[in-house]
């Protein structure tokens, strides 16, 4: 590790985290660290919580909410509970918008009532999610002040070297352990209770069918209403069914077949001549192709490529 660590990198603050030593890697120095890059959250589509959240890059693969809470508790001077929530890459934003979500939902519901019956996800088969290497996360604090405090202490840490320890204060009862028990749990969770599974499927199908009906109704409505340019969209489900792609293909083939029967393949002299010419051309083409391939072989194999094996 370089003695002169820079404190920032393209406006990300650098936050090293001490990693607990592992018996499997005894040769590594005890002070192995993992580097987090953090900055105030500034997404393209702003949300209410931006002012009090941090954008964290390079999250360890085994990160959980508890782990990050532990890190930021260390940075807030040991005060627990400053972090409200953590949203990992690929997760929906919804949990962090607790305060606003109800209002928004209400408005939405009036417009698109089909969303009311959300199709349920399948039961999870993991007791603990893992993150892709190098991924990022958004840490939402209870208020903007605690977030700024954290950023400040990160800057200070450059001197104090009092890095937070990964996994410090994470209780083993709340966060499932990794290793064999993690996989044993996964194996058990893969086989959910049949009745629960059946309920899940039923709920999904109900939601799906409701959505389907809604979509049909929508399509029917569109069928009768011209759009801004005065065109009526052609949609599925009219009295006369719309043409199917496969059907059209079949019709075309039939027509071609009929044309072939009418004139025959060798009916006219020019056809025969053309056919022969085509065949000859094909032979020449084949030869040229083969020549190229043999040349390619010679090039690839270099000298002696065609010499019999000894």
């Amino acid at each position: 590790m370089a003695p002169q660590q820079p404190s920032t990198i393209s406006n990300f603050a650098i936050l090293p985290i001490l990693l607990p030593p592992s018996p499997a890697l005894s040769h590594l120095p005890k002070t192995a660290t993992h580097t987090l890059y953090i900055r105030p959250n500034n997404p393209k589509i702003p949300t209410e919580a931006d002012a009090r959240s941090l954008f964290v890059v390079n999250v360890p693969v085994d990160a959980t909410v508890a782990h990050l809470k532990g890190v930021f508790a260390h940075l807030s001077g040991g005060v627990v509970g400053r972090v409200e929530d953590v949203v990992f890459e690929g997760q929906a934003q919804i949990p962090s918008q607790k305060s606003t979500v109800i209002v928004e939902r209400k408005r939405k519901r009036e417009e698109e009532p089909e969303n009311a019956t959300q199709a349920p996800e399948l039961p999870s088969t993991w007791d603990r999610e893992t993150r892709k290497s190098g991924g990022n996360a958004v840490v939402v604090f209870v208020d903007a002040r605690s977030m700024e405090g954290v950023l400040k202490s990160v800057r200070k840490m450059q001197k104090s070297k009092d890095y937070p320890l990964w996994g410090h204060g994470v209780s083993s009862t709340k966060v499932p352990a990794l290793g064999s028990s993690h996989y044993a749990a996964h194996h058990a969770l893969r086989y959910p209770d049949p009745s629960a599974l059946q309920r899940n499927v039923d709920a999904f199908m109900t939601a799906f069918n409701a959505g389907e009906i809604q979509r049909l109704r929508e399509a029917k409505r569109v069928r009768n209403v011209p759009d801004a340019d005065g065109f009526v969209t052609v949609t599925k489900g009219g009295r006369v069914g719309p043409a199917k792609a496969a059907e059209a293909e079949r019709m075309r083939e039939e027509a071609e077949e009929r044309a072939k029967v009418r004139t025959g393949e060798g009916f006219y002299r020019f056809q025969v001549r053309e056919m022969r010419k085509l065949e000859q051309g094909e032979l020449v083409r084949q030869f040229e192709e083969d020549k190229k391939r043999v040349e390619g072989m010679r090039e690839r194999r270099g000298k002696g490529g065609f010499r019999p094996e000894t």
Partner: protein, 1125 residues
Amino acid sequence: MSHIPSKRRKLDHEISDESDESPNSPSNELHSAFQDSDEEVLDVHAPATTAKQAQPQPHSQPKRAKDDDESALYAVGLYKSSMFKLQVDEMLAEVRPNYGKRFTGADDALRQLKSVIEAIEDREALSVIDATKLLQKSHKVTIPFPDPKPDKNAAYKLAYAKPSNINIVGSYALKAMVKADSVLSIDMVIVMPESIFQEKDYLNYRYFYKRSYYLACLVAGIQETLKDQFSLDFEYLNGNTLHPILVAKPKSNKEKSPLNYRINIIPAAPQTLFSESKLRPTKNAVRPKENAGTETTLPPTPFYNASLRSDANFEAYLKLLYSASRQSAGFVDACLLGRIWLRQRGFGSDVSEGGFGHFEWASFTALLLKGGGSKGHSVLSPGYSSYQTFKAVVQFLSTTDLTSKPLIYESPDFSGTKSDVPVFYDGPRGQNILYKMTPWSYALLRDEAKASLDMLNDAAFDQFESTFILRTSQPLQRYDCILSLPVPAKTFDSPTCDHVSQVTRFSLRLFDVLREGLSDRVKLIDVKSSKSSSWSTKSSGPTLPGQSLLVSVVFDPANIDRLVDHGPAAEEKRKAAKFQKFWGEKAELRRFKDGSILESLVWKTGSTYSIFQDIVSYLLKRHFDEEVSLGLRLIGESFDKALPSSAASSKLFETLKQAYNTFEKNVRDLEGLPLQLRQLSAISPQLRNSSIDPPSFSPQRPLKTPAAVLIQFEGSGRWPDDIVAIQRTKIAFLLKIGSLLQDADASITTRVGLENEDRKLQNCSFLDVIYESGAVFRLRIHNDREQTLLERLVKDKSTDPRTREDAVAASSLYKRNFIQLPLLNQSISTHCTRFPLLSPTIRLVKLWFDRHMLSGHVSEELIELIVASIFLQPYPWRAPSSVMTGFLRTLMFITRWDWRLVPLIVDFTGTMTSKDVSSINTRLEAWRKIDPGMNRTVLFAASNHDTTGVAFTDKGPSRMAAARMTALAVSAYKLVKDKGVELDQRSLFATSTADYDFVVHISPRFAADQKRKEASKHKFKNLEVQSEANLELVGYNPVQLYLSELEKLYANSVVFFHSEVSGSVIAGLWNPQHVVPHSFKVNMTYATNISGDPEEGKIGIDKSAILLEIARLGGDMVSRIEVNR
């Protein structure tokens, strides 16, 4: 140039025959070369060549001035295909030595030798004793008399006189040499004068004694003057002990260019000295000593006679070949092709190499140009192209049996007799040109010719490589078992008159015994003795190495492990007696179920090799002696033993198959299924006899890995029109099937499991069906709507790119799992029945891949395709009949597979046409054009089921893994080649982890190796019954789960390697692209830290953090992580 229509063929013969006598005949021409005359010489045939003269050869240049279009059209008729012709041209250009460069100074050397020889003084006729003593004293030369040595009191005298003629013969004169022969030899024939011989000298070796003395005199003469230029040694010409010759190797005066040619100085008999009719194959020329007076029917001495005749025929054959090359334009090239073909098959003129080399090939071809067909018509037409000539000769060899029907060319008063050795009697020259062949070498030659003919007739695939490039004579790939045994000092049969060495006699007897004893258990038996070496002119003969024979055998897999042999019935007295005499006490009379009473043999149960060994050692003991049988060593059986539970495997596979049939029946019998069942298809390697570990299960220990099965229902409009909804509906179906099965049979346990949780478009559920017997099946539903729906998603423009990517991946997986796998499963299991050795070979090759930790990269299906191709297109051999040949040929295939340019094509049904093949080639070329860096498609493995070629290679191997596969195969194959028969099979399977960047050691509690040991541990029966089967753990493999999680998390930065069978380590390689620091960016795909110069603000991969993550993820499963760099 000489497209002579067949009508004129006869006329043409006359012309060519005339040319034999014409003043312009080659020998005169060759002669003229010595006299340094300025006579005009024909460029192709004159030996005196300068560099300039060697260049212009009508057929050698691949880039000919001829119009390409024209040759394209001709190539189809005259050659197999234009591809074949182009490759042949390339090869011929490659193998032709540059005569000017290679033989610098050769002509000077020849001239010098000639003048020295001509200057040698004549010697008085001396008795044998005096001659020997004199030469020993004056020049320290030992006369290389053949065995038996001449009688010391013999009345005849040995003499030397100036040779009547000196000539250059052989392929140097014909310009038909091939480069890769290590040392090229020029044959110089010294024709001895008639004056030193008597008419009766053909009898009782007298000619050969005189010849030996003549040769010794030549040595003495050359030694006197040219000692510094040449090193002189004796050698047997073609291993024939009657033909000692002098080998003169020029000593190179310049250090840098060692001369790599040698001159064979061969004493020859005058052409007309001995009468042809007295030396025919049916005549006797070596009178036995005992009954010298009685002139009754003496046993013929064909080998002796032919050896003598061949000594008189050097010039005659040169003339014959020369006239053939004038007659047919393709002759010389056809000889070159034949020469290469023979060499790749291990044939040569040498007695130990089968006695059929390029000289025999060339004279064979030349004679067939003149006759050999029915009613004296010629077999070959002079208008044939080189390839046509070559193919016609191969065809002739394969279809005509010259042992049972000797071929006599232009010798009306002689008709051959049936014998063990082939006869092609050349009347005008009075010699059987195949006299050096043995029964086994002839059988082998015909077998090779048949195989090659099949290859050349293969219309769909290009067989150039297997015809000319591949070396088929490598013993471990050619033969299933090799026996090494000592040659005993004793003789075991009555002496013959003919000149036969002790080794040959033993070989002949051994061959007869083995052929009769092994009968249809084997397809081929070949006997190889060691080649004779050259010896110094001072010593009395070549030093004999410890004499041992190698007997190589090709099994017939259908019969080789038969336990009971049926002999003749007891009523057939004579046959039964013969059988008893052959087998001795082993033969016993048995009554069989069908009421017949037969002489029979019963062998002890065991592996293929143990039965084979039992039979061979019994035969040796019975027909030779204990000593021979004790000296027997078997090579090749170790590969059989490398497989886990090799003996019982086929039974285990069969048991699972039966369980599957029960399962299928149970499912079919179900009532109350919502849809009509269409079919059940197996897709598990365990159900196609190709898993490394044969499936073993018992009520207490259920099958470790569930056997995957697909179920398909009749089409129905009730499936939802949405891919995700279909996947969810499948769950409901599976739950229903499960409960129905459990209702129908209470002993069955079922449970529905989930998979592909994070990929919504893919199949998400399966049903495990566990039988009381321990058989476990994993059922998935195949719905053919999925394909259309996925394609619709891909085509739909409103789909977001991520979903489209998912849909593409799901679609390729769908095709693989639901369409291709059932077809492959079907084909592989069918062919496992057709070829009994396919299953063990696939398993051994899979084991090899696994041991080298490539099993995660190279899919099992790809390996199966590769091995299947070895069996379905086995050329240049036949389908493997042992695990060893199958495995080593697969290794060789991988070594040679240039996957960048060449697709693997497996034709399971034998119905593919050349059009199919070329369309697959085109497809590969298209892929390479789109993706030259091979980031997406690397290996291309097509079959008649799948012309896309990527069904089983879409997921890997990556280019890196494929390159590693090739590199590993190359080094393994090199070991095979270097070690030869001394190969230790285990060294091919040993792997080193030093190449990897880091190695994660799995703690022994979780390693697969350990589990296997536990499973195989013997348990007391009563304990076993008491313990409950743990159904929860069916299909649970924590190390595999750990590995796939690692692969998911570090998809871009680390490549992992793991062996499923040993399972104790996971090795990793850092992606080299990521090791160099990059400038900072948010969406990196790997953990980073600040690296390099802090001012620059660059980040690099954080190896120690990642390693610690890997350790944390593994938790208690990881015992140690070793970092190599």
